[in-house]
Symmetry: C2
Subunit: 527 residues, 2 copies
């Protein structure tokens, strides 16, 4: 209780707090639709500029902090978040309508991410150090000594996700990977969960202080509208952007970033309908389990995951009808779900209402309160689906579309016409996977993650995960916003030519004092 | 002679040749300013579309070609370029006014690049394969098997550089790295050296055929204006762009790419003034050698290198006056230089004429013919330099500015105010390098390559080189357009989850059949 009482609704401008400005807003309780105390004060442009100037001033100093020291900082953040205890869980639950258990899991993931990046930068291999030694006798010209590695790109703007108040918000994957890379971070809080944001902001701010890092390494801005976020992306000292949210929001930031005098990269993770192909061999084996799995995946977190299976393509087969009937039953018997905000609820209801003419629908019809809605299932044919572009639009919430295809050609056409996606799943026997290689080949050109016999929700946080994919799933298919690869987004390459040993970063010194995996004269070397 | 006679001036649309369109153009001989036979036919939009459709159709097939087979293809291109023999050298010399010896060197570099990428993809480590094994017993949820690697991004548009008719043109670093990544390439030829482009186009096209690769892997479009290039970048099937040229040209392509329905990355290597800081300890040691080195670097290739030292900052010292006088002598005694095109000549003459009011200048005054100009040296003070933004603009050609600074604060201000650059050089004793650490710290946030006691011209082609830097030096400071790191620009990450062994790419299979360096369950592993 103590910490919850401490919410004061003011931005973090380095170690100072923002002022009591005129523009205020509150969170809402999705269960009731009612406002939740306290009021939060929108940051002013002056406060934004102060935060960015602090970040800019801390840039070089923080960029020189060793991997070991950064690891200490990242672990301290994780410890501080855990130390918030039930206050954090209760506030997150209050602001989102999601259950306690969900936030216990999400807090675990959030702290795990900080500790994973701590391990990564403590080991230090990620900088991809490369050395080519000089050959003074080379003809016609002497060969110089060249050494290169990843260095931090500069101050980062992070935009919080509505649907991950912990793992992709103030202390989320973007912040953790930017800190790990050596970049100061300025967070634009999501106004659906500002109290959660303030609590995590405290945890990070305390870690900056207790680790003796420069003030500008972290700031957190509250805002009731888009003005602060847009001006953050426009500020010349900001060098990259991390964003998780809608396609419209992500594209708006991409356009602002591209129009700057100095364009900067925006790493936006946006919309995806995560096409799921269920071939006859999978239904034949066990259509009941597949239907139960699909139902769970579609309704998990009230369907508010970027990896929710939004379309399910099924070649016609003996078991298709039974599968579809069973899915319908599951959805009709489903409880109502609380969505995160009134905006998400309205968009869901409009999306469901407008879903194409040639679709059959089945919904549960429970009473709803606050931001509650009923899950909905749609069914159509491939030929109708291919004619109606709106069928490919993401509806955020507990709904999906079953699409019956009559030919392999239709299946391929759906895959070929599809926009970029975060994931695609294929359910079938191993023989079919081989036979449908043409489908995998096409899907591979669109998605960041291909899944065999599994649903797309649930994203591992590790070295090999790719939470990416072709636009509009993300703005940058070269990268991943989840897992250790995320650090590369906030890094740039620097080469040192003919530098004396004492002036080189430790990562590039002879004798390999940090024990890194390096490439030396073309060969892997640990010395 | 035989091959030169074969120039027909038509685009390569896969294995077909373009038509004799109405828009034609020729190369010019910089020595005389006169047109050179034959006429070249601008590609039509229909031809462009055919080329891109062929590329799109070959995308999946070429993307599945093994590293070994790609290596064979890349080596065949190098062999074919060498087999063009003197015809290639003579045509390049005729179209550029640069000496034979330069092209013998540049041809060596060009073929070296293809062979370097052949070795890279034959070894295969570049795909950065990562594996995390499943843990079916993990609580609360089973851990899936996830494996990821770099895969080709799709068809690439390559824009040729005026100043590297071989190494950064049709068969240049962008083309070589895109092919190596597994991407089809469509080249937009530079209209200053179309005959050189056609010869190299033949060499590549023959290699595509003789290696049995799909037709769409390579096309080459001639054009007399920007229409073809702009439409190429707009085409939805193009997935990334490589460009070497002016800031204006690069930014125009960046803006087009960012405005597409699906924005795509543009890797533009643009302008740079490569600031060179010469501290008193360097002049004290041997000012004559430093001046001779600077003179050579500024006039190399008629000053038409992106790494030419465009500004030289010198703290006042005992030897500065003697150094400046000696530089002046060297420049005044210099021969006239042939520039590549009438446009580059006109821009040079206008740039030199308009160089700020408060600068002293010294030029050679030799007679010039064709696109010839005289080298020019400018001198000014830091305070004037800092007041006049135009002093930081690149003048392409044999000229540089010496800037005297009176205080360390001025030195730092110049570095701090500076835009992004490809390189920066610092000449001094080792003690001074340590003492001027503040300068290195600032320069490191701006440039791709920091050089100690060396000039910036001459870019190694290896694993550790970074030919990159902050905008406007390049459009993307995360990458390098030279060396093996260039391949990453044309790659994207794909993760395979729970895939059976037979359906995985060889790079990700258990047992490591390709013998790659991989990261397996968080550890480096070669098995």
């Amino acid at each position: 209780m103590r910490k919850r009482m401490n919410l004061i609704g003011k931005s973090f401008i380095g170690f100072s707090r923002g002022s009591e400005t005129e523009k205020t807003f509150t969170a809402f309780n999705p269960e009731t639709g009612e406002a939740v105390e306290p009021s939060f004060y929108s940051a002013t442009i002056e406060e934004l500029n102060s935060a960015v100037e602090l970040a800019q001033r801390s840039r070089i100093a923080y960029g020189r902090v060793s991997g070991k020291e950064k690891a200490k900082f990242l672990r301290q953040i994780a410890d501080n978040i855990e130390a918030l205890g039930d206050d954090l869980i209760q506030r997150a639950t209050l602001e989102t309508g999601l259950p306690n258990a969900r936030f216990e899991g999400e807090r675990g993931r959030t702290c795990w991410q900080f500790r994973m990046f701590a391990d990564l930068v403590e080991k230090g291999h990620w900088v991809d150090a490369r050395i080519d030694h000089a050959e003074p006798e080379r003809k016609p010209l002497p060969k110089p000594d060249t050494r290169s590695m990843f260095r931090p790109v500069g101050p980062i703007a992070v935009f919080c996700a509505s649907n991950f108040p912990l793992a992709y918000s103030v202390g989320g994957g973007d912040t953790a990977s930017a800190f790990a890379a050596g970049c100061p971070v300025i967070v634009n809080a999501h106004n659906a969960h500002p109290g959660t944001a303030e609590l995590v902001g405290h945890a990070i701010s305390q870690a900056v202080r207790s680790c003796g890092l420069p003030e500008g390494v972290f700031s957190l801005l509250f805002s009731s509208n888009y003005e602060i976020g847009q001006n953050l992306v426009k500020h010349p000292a900001i060098k990259a952007v991390g964003f998780t949210g809608s396609q419209k929001g992500g594209r708006a930031l991409m356009d602002i970033a591209a129009a700057r005098d100095e364009p900067i990269p925006v790493y936006a993770e946006m919309s995806s309908i995560n096409p799921t192909f269920i071939l006859p061999s999978a239904l034949e084996k066990d259509y009941v389990s597949v239907a139960k799995g699909l139902y769970s995946s579609v309704t998990l977190g009230a369907g508010q995951f970027c990896t929710k299976p939004g379309i399910v393509v099924l070649p016609d087969s003996e078991h298709l009808q039974k599968f579809a009937e069973f899915m319908k039953e599951l959805m009709q018997e489903s409880d109502a779900s609380q969505l995160l905000t009134s905006g998400i609820r309205d968009a869901y209801e409009m999306g469901v209402e407008n879903r194409g003419e040639n679709t059959a629908s089945a919904s549960s019809e429970k009473e709803t309160e606050g931001f509650g809605v009923n899950p909905s299932l749609f069914q159509t044919n491939a030929s109708y689906f291919l004619q109606d572009e709106t069928m490919s639009e993401e509806i955020f919430g507990p709904t999906t579309v079953l699409i019956k295809s009559d030919t392999a050609a239709e299946l391929l056409e759906i895959a070929t016409n599809m926009e970029g996606q975060l994931t695609a799943s294929v359910f079938c026997s191993e023989e079919d996977l081989y036979e449908y290689g043409f489908l995998i080949d096409v899907l591979e050109t669109k998605v960041g993650r291909l899944i065999y016999n599994g649903f797309s929700t649930g994203v591992e946080v590790n070295d090999s995960i790719v939470h990416g994919g072709v636009y509009p799933a993300t703005s940058d298919s070269r990268t991943s916003s989840v897992g250790t690869r995320a650090i590369e987004r906030f890094s740039r390459l620097v080469c040192y030519q003919n530098f004396p040993q004492e002036s080189l970063p430790d990562e590039l010194k002879d004798g390999n004092p940090l024990g890194l995996r390096r490439v030396v004269d073309g060969e892997a070397a640990e010395n």
